[in-house]
Symmetry: D2
Subunit: 382 residues, 4 copies
């Protein structure tokens, strides 16, 4: 078969146009958040406080779902303000619309979308998030007590939002008011944000432990999420980890009322030991736990970390038998070396060492690090 | 002065809380686009076609200005659809609102916001962008001819949008219809998008050259911009470079009508030689243009490129006197080495070499690269 | 307890100095290469051709092990030149030293270090890599035939290196010489580099298939590896995938003689279908293979890819029942969406679709892509 | 002209092979370090302490020059140990060789290579770097005093290296010994490393100020540099900034003896106000210093920073007339917004404000930040 050179060259030009810059980059992809499940529960990644342009946000509700899908989240709550609707001259004031619109995209992308509303009052009691409501419109009442009661009657899980938000504090002090006691006693408050955006409130964390509130970590995002996060590698929105029986809205609701949550913010996990310890244990693997040390020799123990968290460890005491590095970072999705050195005088033979460590970026209470042990079987020789 | 240790430790804890993760990352910053000015003109970076939730976009208008500011743009045109308003049950149908809202943020951030509208019809003539309109509401008329005429009477610059958009083509062929001739002859069309999103239309480029239309490169973005771009380092939205007398809306308008534009898409510049050659020349500096080559020795010429474009060069002919690499990439914001080797037989003495190069990612016509020369003064010795 | 404020402040200053920039970055970490094992074999990542300063390389041998460990490799062969020792005035010419020195670090970091040597002759036969030699010094003989025979007698696996290296070609043509037939017939050559550095030689690939040679992909690195690679995200050295019974030197040797290898270069895998197809299948998971399509509706199928390779797919034929995107990139370590649309006329009911795809960056022969199928169970409704 | 389709397709295949992954990445490029010159001096970026495999380093000397060129340095000193030669069984012990070999590459790439040697003794006096020596071999003498004297006689600039190196301290205390006083008084020590690798020694910084020593910041790198640095974006080796009359070895020597140096480590600059203030001033530009504030309105002042340093500012006092953010980071190579708000009660009219700021990451003494002012002309209106 003969063919005209000109046609051949045309094909060439066409081809080279097509391939010159390679295949178009993949703009739409989901990146998993690598934090392992724990025994009995799936670890769901949730952001339960955010806004759309139906209140004072900058995006159409579907964008919130798209963002959540890409960022590896399992569930979001749309929680537009009840009382603050600065776009009302241009936009419908139907308080149920934003969740309604987001739900369709949620089904398409398999993201759980929870209907919520932010009851937006001055302090006290400040802002309350009511999620799992069935009709947001009914929360638009004069008294905040009535709004909270209505939400409660709809079966809502109610959270005190950003208790340490500077704009609502007197003398910059984060305070628990009688109104919060009232909410607690009337079962109108089950959770508290100990992280909102990039802020962590140690006082709120303390109250959560004392008063048995679920802890939450939410973005409260208004703009497109990428305008506030991803400014450097590893940066991410604050996330509420929910330890649920399964990946459903109902299981999330159960977990929240049962206080099965933890906080993932920056490079920190915050939560009870019962959740943080298994997350750590399920993330980290000592690849060669059996080593032989000859005299004062150096041996490398390789430790892999499958999670997205850089675990920052410090030995709690100086172990008698070996010399350890003064700190040890188990880098996210990497294997690192722990240098173990023999000491001058050693007993010979095999010993099981349980090296006690603090994980300084895993907080089980304000300023209290998770404790763990690294187990080695060391054969000491001359 | 004495102080309680407990207080001291409290301060310590507070301090370590505060500093532990360093200063908060800067989320709000403007990154310049490094493409130099050319003699007589400032090189303004513009995106003249985009949507907000007032038509079928996903963001509030102010977000478009924030994005433009961060990405180093000088000017944007908000160009919501006239005829396609899928959010109309929830959002005002006032066709002037989106530009109005964006303008306030434009003033605050010093971004030029141009009022535009997309006349959204089936092919032919397809979609037309009218920018610099004074009242978008008046474009909402039954006949597209009337809409274009009204825009023209308001002083608008009118562009044929995405002429190669597959959804509007018959048999996937990009076609010039009689209606486009009509628009051209009636002075109702002065520009054409040769790039829309990630697509380049060589046919449209050809028509632009033949029919003396300004060339444009616009994002036509609907979602938050970061959901479509920045997927890898160096990725950016398509940009219309406008060579304006000054950084004002009026000067942009003048430049558009005067066809002083070029296209910046991916790692490509597309436009007339009168614009592309000075951009290249003002980006690139030979640091050591005077070299001495001894016999067949290798000498490195260092070439710096201050721009954000990786210039991809190929020598046009084999120069007699020296051996050159078969290709040469002048990496963006870097200095690279051009290896120049002597040949077996050389005349001694000093020679001025004008090495002819094609810059394969700078197009002055479809499939036609910009030509330039690299000047060296070579002292040949034994 | 009282304490001097000055001391307290000193501690503060000290503390803030210490923590100001956070914990020191982890400089020493291993990043896994995510390419899955296949049934019966572990997929070992190997680089079997590299240099140290004992021949013409730029690094001390231990550096090669450190690099390999960090980059997630399992095994390397040190293969300094026998005949080219430009550092000989400054460095020992003991041809066994580099592998000897590297071996110690190999044991410490659990990297398999194979002793090799590059018999470095002009073409034909060009350069031959002999790995698994026991005494490199004995390869330093006048005749290349004698060197190859000696290597063979030591049990070596012998590879023809970079058969398409421009510097050794006549008229830029990659040629098979009688000498290569001789090597083959005398069992003095069992492998061939089809990739060396960033170059792929389709001719060599063809010969490998015809003449039953193992295919290899090696860096041939001389400088510190980071000076040649990692210039953009995802960049990596060329790697020979070895499908071994276990992670030992012996198992690698067996696999090489048995031709159980594939090539990982850039974003490409090259090798026989028996290896590439299970790698692809073990990398990729359709998360929701059962879907319901209503009329011409769009449904998203989510496909996860656990590997480090961006699989680039194209449908082979237009399936009758559904509309598919014209290309589909399964991004590395991401989940992407495959948009499946119904067509105008559909039979109702459930159908099993086996959608035939080419994976264009997985080559089973020169210019021949791997073929695979994506299985969906579609419930068509009105 | 007719041509066979098969040939045409072959060309196509060839072409698509060639272009499939785009042009090869640029592996060899120089990235400038953006720290501006100051009046009267060029700001040279130097690393004056490093090793090669001629002592205990892991690279061939030419690698040090290649690294320096790529990283934007102007000058390096090769400073192999005199007394510590662990590779001596394999490598020449000629103490002048490493600098000699590096010099050739230095000329080729236009990097200033300074001959140095590290006199490597136990503390006191610890390790001394002698750079600008003419014959390193003569420093191999029994007594460190004799070695220092010999270096001095050769015209060397002598530095006390890493005075806070833990391995050489008693009880972890950084100490000034009588031997250092002796060196100082005999003019055998003119400089001191206040930064070595990632460590900063505040005590050494204090001594430098008291005793009029030049301050240095050196990598002391042994492995390929990329194995210790570049672990995250913006990471770089420690650098000694030398304020020299011109870019020559002699001018560097003059500057060192004249104490015209500063330190660039991590995101910090350390040095005298006379150097740091002009660097800051030459990096930073207020784009709109004249603003109008209406009542309590918010106005954005745009501040550009051309340098590679993120300047971290804090206002020193609360200015009476306006409200300022509590901190302000001028991000490297970006423009950021300083939000200035009016206060309730303002005098009308135009005022020149000199807003006093500390730059907390620019240290003019241990724990003492550089002070500067941002000048605004504010027109207050109602």
């Amino acid at each position: 078969m003969k063919i005209d050179l000109k046609i051949c060259l045309l094909i060439l030009v066409f081809l080279s146009d097509a391939v010159a810059e390679g295949r178009e980059p993949v703009t739409r992809a989901r990146t998993a958040i690598n934090i392992p499940d724990i025994s009995g529960y799936v670890t769901l990644k949730c952001d339960l406080h955010m806004h759309t342009m139906f209140s004072d946000g900058g995006v159409w509700p579907t964008v919130r779902v798209e963002e959540a899908w890409r960022e590896g989240l399992d569930a979001i709550a749309i929680s537009d303000h009840i009382e603050y609707l600065p776009h009302k001259n241009d936009v419908s004031t139907n308080l149920n619309r934003s969740a309604e619109i987001a739900s369709g995209t949620g089904k398409e992308l398999d993201i759980i979308v929870i209907r919520g509303s932010e009851i937006t009052r001055k302090m006290p009691p400040g802002h309350l998030n009511a999620i799992f409501v069935t009709n947001s419109a009914k929360l638009a009442v004069a008294e905040w007590r009535d709004a909270a009661r209505e939400a409660h009657e709809q079966g809502a899980f109610i959270t005190w939002n950003h208790p340490g938000w500077l704009a609502q504090l007197t003398n910059d002090v984060t305070e628990w008011h009688p109104e919060h006691t009232e909410l607690l006693e009337k079962h109108l408050m089950q959770g508290i944000e100990i992280v909102n955006g990039r802020d962590y409130y140690p006082e709120a964390h303390r109250w959560a432990l004392e008063k048995k509130l679920a802890i939450l970590s939410n973005s409260d995002v208004h703009l497109p999420l990428s305008l506030d996060y991803f400014v450097k590698e590893g940066d991410h929105r604050p996330i509420t980890l929910v330890f649920a029986k399964e990946r459903t809205a109902d299981a999330i609701k159960d977990a929240l009322f049962d206080r099965r949550t933890a906080v993932y913010t920056g490079n920190r996990l915050i939560g009870e030991e019962q959740f943080l310890l298994p997350i750590f244990k399920n993330s980290v693997h000592v690849l060669n736990p059996q080593i032989t040390i000859k005299g004062k020799q150096r041996v490398y123990v390789q430790i892999a970390n499958d999670s997205d968290i850089n675990y920052e460890l410090e030995p709690e005491i100086d172990p008698g038998e070996v010399k350890l590095p003064k700190d040890l970072t188990l880098a996210a999705r990497k294997t690192v070396l722990m240098e173990v050195r023999g000491k001058a005088v050693v007993t010979e033979g095999t010993k099981n060492l349980e090296l006690p460590y603090k994980v300084t970026n895993l907080l089980i209470a304000p300023a209290e690090s998770l404790r763990t042990r690294i187990s080695l079987e060391v054969n000491f020789t001359h």
